[in-house]
Symmetry: D2
Subunit: 268 residues, 4 copies
C-alpha cells in the first residue's frame, strides 16, 4: 500500500510546535481526517493528538483558500486525493452526480516513494501495469470526507489505484451517473474553477505529460451514454505533493499564490 509521503512522524510533535507559536504545514496524512476513529482503521494506530484534528485545514486551495489564510495547522493532501477531489468537486457541489462514484487512478512510480523495494525495481515495473489495494486504499477516506462535505446527499466512492510504468504523473478517470446534461456539467466545472490559477478545465482528454513538471491539474468533462467520465491529470511530485505545500505556504503567509510555482511548460 502506497502512502505518498511518510506519515505519523510529526503528529506527536505538532502540538508542541503550535504551542510555541509556529504555523505547521504537514505533508503527511496525519491531520487530513477529521474523524479520529478513522486512524486505527486505515493507519493501524490511535491518533496521538486527536484534539488537533478539528482545527486542521485540509490543504487543497481550490476548496479551502479562505481558511488557509489563517490556518495554524495545514494538512496537505497527496497525489491521489488531489486528483480525485479536483476531478469530482464541481460535480458533487452542483448536485449533478449520482450517488455511486468510481475513481480509477493511474500513478507513476515516484508516487510509491523513494525507498528501494522489489515493487519499484525497474525490471519489475517497466513494461507492466497493475492495480493494487483493490479492497480499499487509505486515501479513500480523505476523498469521501472532502467530497461529502460539498454535497447534500450521500455519496459512495469506489477507488482503485494502479501503478503505471512512468516516473511522474497521475491520471484519475472518474465515472458517475449524470443527473443533468453534459452542458450543465461542463458549466458547473467552469464556474467552480473560474479564476483558479492551477486547475484548468480543458476540452480534450489530458495526458499526464501535459501537466508534467508543473503545478497544474488539468480536467476534462465528457459523457458516454448517460455516464459522466471526468479525467484529471497532474504531476504527483508537484501539485500532488511539494508544489501544493508551497501553494498552501503562499496563501498562509500572504504571498501571491503562484510564487515559485510558475514553471514553464516542458515538452516532451
Amino acid at each position: 500500500m502506497f502512502s505518498c509521503l511518510p506519515h505519523n512522524v510529526g503528529a506527536g510533535k505538532a502540538g508542541g510546535w503550535l504551542a510555541a507559536g509556529a504555523r505547521v504545514i504537514d505533508m503527511s496524512a496525519d491531520f487530513r481526517l477529521k474523524d479520529p476513529s478513522q486512524y486505527p482503521k486505515w493507519y493501524r494506530q490511535e491518533h496521538p493528538a486527536p484534539g488537533l484534528l478539528a482545527g486542521a485545514v485540509f490543504g487543497l486551495p481550490e476548496l479551502h483558500e479562505r481558511e488557509l489564510q489563517k490556518a495554524e495547522l495545514i494538512a496537505v493532501p497527496g497525489c491521489f486525493s488531489t486528483s480525485a477531489i479536483l476531478a469530482l468537486a464541481p460535480a458533487v457541489a452542483s448536485g449533478l452526480v449520482g450517488s455511486d462514484i468510481i475513481i480509477d487512478a493511474k500513478s507513476g512510480v515516484s508516487g510509491a516513494g523513494r525507498s528501494p523495494s522489489m515493487g519499484v525495481h525497474f525490471s519489475e515495473v517497466n513494461e507492466s501495469l497493475s492495480a493494487y489495494a483493490i479492497e480499499g486504499h487509505r486515501h479513500l477516506p480523505e476523498m469521501t470526507q472532502e467530497l461529502s462535505a460539498l454535497g447534500r446527499n450521500g455519496i459512495q466512492i469506489t477507488f482503485v489505484p494502479h501503478l503505471a510504468p512512468m516516473t511522474r504523473g497521475i491520471l484519475a478517470t472518474c465515472y458517475f451517473d449524470l443527473k443533468g446534461s453534459l452542458a450543465q456539467l461542463q458549466d458547473a466545472y467552469r464556474e467552480f474553477y473560474a479564476g483558479q490559477p492551477f486547475t484548468r478545465v480543458i476540452p480534450q482528454s489530458p495526458s499526464t505529460k501535459l501537466a508534467s513538471h508543473s503545478n497544474l491539474c488539468l480536467v476534462n468533462v465528457s459523457v458516454q451514454n448517460d455516464k459522466a467520465v471526468v479525467t484529471a491529470a497532474l504531476d504527483n511530485l508537484v501539485k500532488g505533493a511539494s508544489g501544493q505545500g508551497v501553494e498552501c505556504f503562499n496563501i498562509a503567509f500572504g504571498f501571491d499564490r503562484k510564487t515559485a510555482l510558475e514553471a514553464p511548460i516542458q515538452w516532451p
Copy 2:
C-alpha cells in the same frame, strides 16, 4: 498481426473464399458484429457482405469452442474485447452482476498498430498516460453483443480505453454492483473457467507483465464495499491478437488447442 484496428480488407473477398471451400479466420473487425446496422455507426460504412454476418463465429474459444470446431468463418476479437469479455463473462452468466458495468482498460502502445504517427512517437507517449475515445470506442458493441448474450437481463457498458507507456499488455479493470457475495462470485469464475487452458483465475491482482509474451489471460475477482472489481491482464499481441487466431485455427482444424501456444514464462 494486429486486430485492434479494423481493416475491412477482406470483408468483400471472404464470400469468394468461402464459396471456393476455404475456411476463413479473420483477424479484423469485419465479421464480429451480428447486426449489420452497427457497421455504419461505428465504422462509417455499410457492410459489404451483410449476409455472412449471421454465420460468422466470434473467435473467443472460452465462449464458443464448440461452434468454432465447425465454423467456416471465424471473426477473432482483438485485445480490448478479449480482456473485457473474459473479465466479465462469468459475472454476467451467473446473474451476479448489476445492470451497469464500467470497463476502464489500459493498453500498451503496440495496441495502436504499427503505422508511424505523432500518437505513437516515443517522445510523446513515453512518461505519459491518457484516456481516449471517451465518448465511445468502436469495440464497445462487440463487448455488449457477447456479454448480453450470456445474461438474462439488460446490461449497460461504459468502456474507456487508455494508452499506457509500455509496448505490450492490456489491463481491464471492471466495476459493477455485486448481487451476491464475493465467495459466490469467485465460485462463478472458477467454474466458468474450469479446464480452460489459457484463462486463469488467480488470487492476486495481475500485472500485465505476468501475462507478457504468453497466450494467457489472468483474472482476479475482488470487492470494495459492495462493488465487485475484476481485473484481467493479457498480452495484446498474443491472446489479444495472433495467439488467439492460432487458438481458433487449432480448434477449427482439430489440433490440440494449445499447439504452438505454450510459450515458456518470461520474466522480467
Copy 3:
C-alpha cells in the same frame, strides 16, 4: 526547436536578413562549417551562401563568448556536437590528448526530431538500444573543426551515435590516450571551465537525468589504465538546442548570460 537535424531553410534567406540589419541566430547546421566543400559531402548539396560562412560564429559560448558578443550570424551547434566538444575541448587545448579520439554518444529519442517515423515508434524504440550512422555522421565535421582549432597537432575523431530508449538526454563517452597524469588532465578541465555558468566538472560519472530539464553540461574526467575516459551529460532539448540558442542570444544582446536559463533542478 530541434537543431540536431539540418533544415537548410534559412541559409538562402540569412543574407537578406543580415543586409537588412538583423542579427541572425541559426539553430540549424547551415552555417556551422567554415569550409564550403564540406556541405556537398555531408549534406548532399552546395551551400547557397558560402560567402557568409567565414563570418559566422559557432554558437558554443564556452569557446566563443567574446566573438558572440558582436556576432551578426550565429550558428548554434546541436546536441551531439555540444556534448562532444565540451567533453574534449580542455584535453585538446592542453595537449594532453593523443591523436586518436573515440566518441561513443548515446541520445534520447527526442534527438531524432518530432516527425513520426518507424524509427521513433514507441514499440520499436522502447526496450531497445542501437548504434547508427557508424560509417560517419554529419555532425562529425563540426566536432573536428572546433576541436582541431584548439590544438597544435592533428586529431582523428571516430564518432558513433546511439539511440537509447528515453525521451531526453545525451551522454558522450570519450576515450583517448592520456599524455600526462590524471591530475594534470583534471586540472586542465577545471581551469578551462572555471567561471563557466553551465558546464561543470564533477567528481562522479554523470547520469543524463542529472542534467535533465536544465541548461547544464556535466563533465567527468577519469582514467582506465592509460586511457582517459571523459563523460559528458546534457539535456539535448536545452543545452543541446534551444537553451543554447537563448544563451547565445543573451550574450549577443548584452543580457546576463543566464537569463531565462536558471531552471530549478528537477528530480527524478
Copy 4:
C-alpha cells in the same frame, strides 16, 4: 559494480561435488579466471579452491565447444563478457586488430541483478543513462584472458559499462585500429562464426530488441575511416546468462546444442 550473477557461493563446494562425480556448471565468476592472483585484485578475496582453476572450461561455446564436451567444471561467462568476446574474437584471431581495443557496453537494468537498491529504482533509472566502473570493471580480466589467448600479440582492452533505461539487452560497441581492409575483416567474422547456431554476422547494426528473448548474439562489422567498429547485441538474460548455461549443459551431456533454446522471434 554489477556482477551478473551472485558469485563465490559455490567455489568452496565445487571441489566436493566434483569429487563425488558430479559435473558442475557454474554461473558465477568463481572459476572464470585461470590466474588465482586476479581474484584478490578484482573480488577482494583469495580464491578458496585455486587448484580447480586450471581445469575449469570457460563456458563460451563459440570458443570452447570441444573442451565443453568433456568438461567436469564449466565456468559460464556473463552478459558483458559474452557480448565483448563474441564481438572481438574473430578480429583478434585473424590478427586484423591493433593493440588497443575500446569496448563501450550498454546494459539493461536486469543486468544489475534482482536485489532492490536505489540504483535500480524505476524513478532513478528511467529516462537516464550513465557510465559506471570507469576505472575498471571486474569482468575486464575475463575478456582480456579469453581474447589474449586467441592472438599472437598483446592487446590492451579499455572496457566501460553503461546502464541504459531498459529491462533486457546488451549492446557492445567495440573500436580498434583495422590492420587490413573491411572486406578482410568481414570475411574473418563470417568464417569464424560459420556453422554457429546462435552467433550471427548481420549486415546492419543490431538493436538489442532484435535479439531480445532469444539465445542469439548478433554481430555487425563496420568501419569509420581507419577504425573498425564492431557492434554485438544479445539478451543478457538468455545468451548472457541462463541460456548460455543451458547451451553448455547440452554440449556437455551430448544433447543437440539448440535443445530448449530455439525460442521464436518476438517483436516488438
